[in-house]
């Protein structure tokens, strides 16, 4: 178990500033997830930690020791690549034992460790196969096994599940979570999939164009996104944004009897999650807003309703599985302003945190 600290880290590729001053503290045994859209610098940050890219400026500390200039081979980190990067000429067992063989560990101990890891990952019957003869999920397991066998100080994962099909991805996600509970190792996991981030992480690090946008527990970033970027990125279906208008100001005034504890009226944009929108079939509520249904997606368990409000701004709402709503119809809805966030012109959140005691596992 190890802690990792990153200080003022910058990375320039010849003409592109990929990492723009990242500061980060990762505690012992923590499962940290870097999440962000494609191209935001997640892999680059992970590769800088791994020692596969040269740091432009700043420093990386592993257990309070500066490893900024240490070679990848000497950092004692293990990485699972998106492409798995298995050694094609070696069997599963040889793949998993490669690092130990290089480190000249006693062959008996190697055999034991490989057997243990194979047991955990259900690879025992596949140990003699070559990577070519394995399915995607099995390859993934071998790549993880290769990391486990070494008992590294930190595990690094770069989008390890993105090449798997949807159902296998869910299964592997759960297995990874179980693995972390079992090994209690420090793990850093990169993904563009916010569901993986929400389900796996102790700590989520949201990256945007080479900057850290927010750090927090999954629920904290969900309930209290620091910016419009985070709010939009975390949560499915996405948060909807509606421009402030006089109508809405009136509704807010109604709701809070003229007060504005959530600083909504001074915001330019309101961020509304689907669960804060209530659809009503009758024209009766005083908090009513009117829109036109532009699209209905029936997912089985629930129905997603996309509403055009003021002509263009789409609001997403949830409805019952069998709700009788058709595209093209006018619809009445209300918004629960207790859980709405206000954002200013720069996309920063103005409204205070949603009540803290609701949120488990605060950082």
């Amino acid at each position: 178990m190890s802690s990792l600290e990153i200080k003022k880290l910058h990375k320039n590729f010849s003409n592109y500033h990929a990492i723009r001053g990242v500061d980060l503290q990762i505690e012992k045994g923590e499962f940290t997830v870097f999440v962000g859209p494609s191209g935001c610098g997640k892999s680059t940050l992970l590769r800088l930690i791994a020692g596969l890219e040269v740091v432009t400026s700043g420093s990386i500390l592993l257990n309070d020791q500066d490893i900024t200039d240490t070679s990848a081979a000497e950092r004692d980190l293990a990485m699972v690549f998106q492409s798995y990067a298995l050694y094609p000429h070696m069997s599963v067992a040889e793949n998993m034992s490669f690092a130990l063989k290089i480190a000249k560990v006693d062959p008996k101990i190697i055999a034991e460790k490989v057997a243990d890891a194979a047991e955990i990952l259900q690879l025992t019957s596949l140990l003699d196969r070559k990577p070519k003869a394995l399915s995607g999920g099995q390859r993934q397991r071998v790549a993880i096994g290769r990391a486990i066998v070494r008992q590294p100080s930190v595990f690094l994962f770069d989008e390890p599940l993105s090449n798997l099909d949807a159902s296998l991805r869910v299964q592997m996600r759960q297995e990874l979570s179980g693995l972390h509970k079992r090994l209690k190792s420090t793990m850093i996991y990169v993904t563009h999939d916010q569901v993986e981030a929400m389900t796996l992480a102790d700590k989520v690090v949201i990256l945007n164009a080479g900057n850290v946008e927010q750090v927090g527990t999954p629920l904290n970033v969900y309930y209290n996104p620091a910016s419009r970027f985070v709010a939009e990125f975390i949560g499915t279906p996405k948060m909807s944004f509606i421009p402030m208008s006089d109508d809405i100001k009136k509704l807010i005034a109604n709701e809070y009897d003229g007060a504005d504890p959530r600083k909504l009226t001074s915001s330019t944009w309101l961020g509304v999650r689907p669960e804060s929108v209530t659809l009503s079939s009758q024209l009766l509520t005083k908090a009513g807003l009117t829109g036109k249904v532009s699209l209905v997606e029936r997912l089985g368990a629930e129905t997603l309703v996309y509403i055009d409000y003021l002509g263009e701004h789409k609001i997403t709402a949830r409805a019952d599985s069998l709700a009788s709503i058709e595209a093209g119809a006018d619809i009445q809805f209300s918004i629960d302003f207790q859980n709405v966030h206000g954002f200013d012109d720069d996309g920063l959140r103005l409204s205070p945190d949603v009540t803290d005691n609701l949120i488990v596992g605060n950082v």
Binding site: S83, H89, I102, R146
Partner: protein
């Protein structure tokens, strides 16, 4: 129905290729068992295996056989090792790599005779060759390469010409090697040498096998370099089977004996290929 049409349409080219191969082979086999000397015209009489006996018992046969094997073996080792080393050297991007690559590959495009003349006259000549000039500059005795070490001279010339071939094949293969595998190995603590040994070499197994096969076929019949430079001498010191056959056929005008030599060369090539394929297959292919 379809496959019959396909077979029919393929037939002309297959028949042509078959004739292309079988006619010369048949004629060689035929000439090898008749008495056929251009200096004593007359009907071609069946002569049993006496041509073979004559060729094999010739005092030049054994040296030629040994020279052939030495040539093939040493040129293979030199070109594969040098090709591999150079390919690794220019695999990483650096300024001017394109030019360097073209320059390194260019010897392969020079005709063997021209290559031999360059080495003979410009480099290895004991009086005005560059090697002797250098030797004299350092106060050493210039070496008369072609008469003092004829076989080594041939090996150097042919290796110089064929290293680019190995280089070309290896560099293409190196370019297709997965970089993430190497990074994974780095993180696994592997040194550059370990990465070369456990990842790069197995990755190059097939290309190495291909280079060895193709070169063997060509080097069993090295001729132009010998013809242009040493003429097989001094004595039989640089005579290989191909050159011996040539000297039988065209210097002594004995087509029958030369044909017998040709058949022996074919048999030798097959034996060498058989063992090479097995050796290469065992050591390299197993891993892939």
């Amino acid at each position: 129905m379809n496959s019959r049409i396909a077979k029919l349409l393929q037939a002309p080219s297959i028949i042509l290729l078959f004739l292309w191969m079988i006619v010369p082979l048949g004629m060689t086999l035929y000439f090898s068992v008749v008495r056929y000397n251009l200096l004593s015209p007359g009907p071609l009489e069946f002569d049993g295996f006496s041509n073979y006996a004559f060729f094999i018992t010739d005092s030049a046969f054994l040296p030629a056989l040994i020279n052939t094997l030495i040539l093939v073996g040493s040129i293979l080792i030199i070109t594969v090792v040098m090709g591999l080393a150079l390919a690794l050297l220019i695999n990483r991007p650096f300024f001017g790599r394109g030019i360097v690559r073209v320059m390194m590959i260019s010897p392969f495009f020079i005709m063997p005779t021209v290559n031999a003349l360059i080495w003979k006259n410009m480099l290895m000549n004991p009086v005005y060759g560059i090697f002797s000039v250098i030797a004299i500059a350092f106060g050493a005795e210039p070496i008369d390469w072609l008469s003092e070490m004829p076989l080594l001279s041939i090996i150097i010339m042919v290796s110089w010409q064929w290293t680019p071939f190995a280089l070309l094949i290896f560099i293409t293969s190196l370019q297709s090697q997965d970089t993430e595998q190497q990074e994974a190995a780095q993180l696994d603590g592997a040194s550059s040498w370990a990465i070369f040994k456990y990842l790069t070499l197995p990755h190059l197994a097939r290309p190495i096998a291909v280079v060895i096969m193709i070169q063997t076929i060509f080097h069993l019949s090295i001729f132009a370099e010998i013809f242009v430079t040493t003429g097989g001498g001094p004595g039989y010191d640089s005579t290989n089977l191909a050159f011996l056959i040539f000297s039988q056929a065209l210097l002594q005008f004995d087509v029958g004996v030369a044909s017998a030599g040709g058949v022996i060369a074919i048999i030798l090539a097959n034996i060498v290929a058989f063992f090479l394929i097995r050796a290469v297959g065992k050591n390299l292919m197993v891993q892939s």
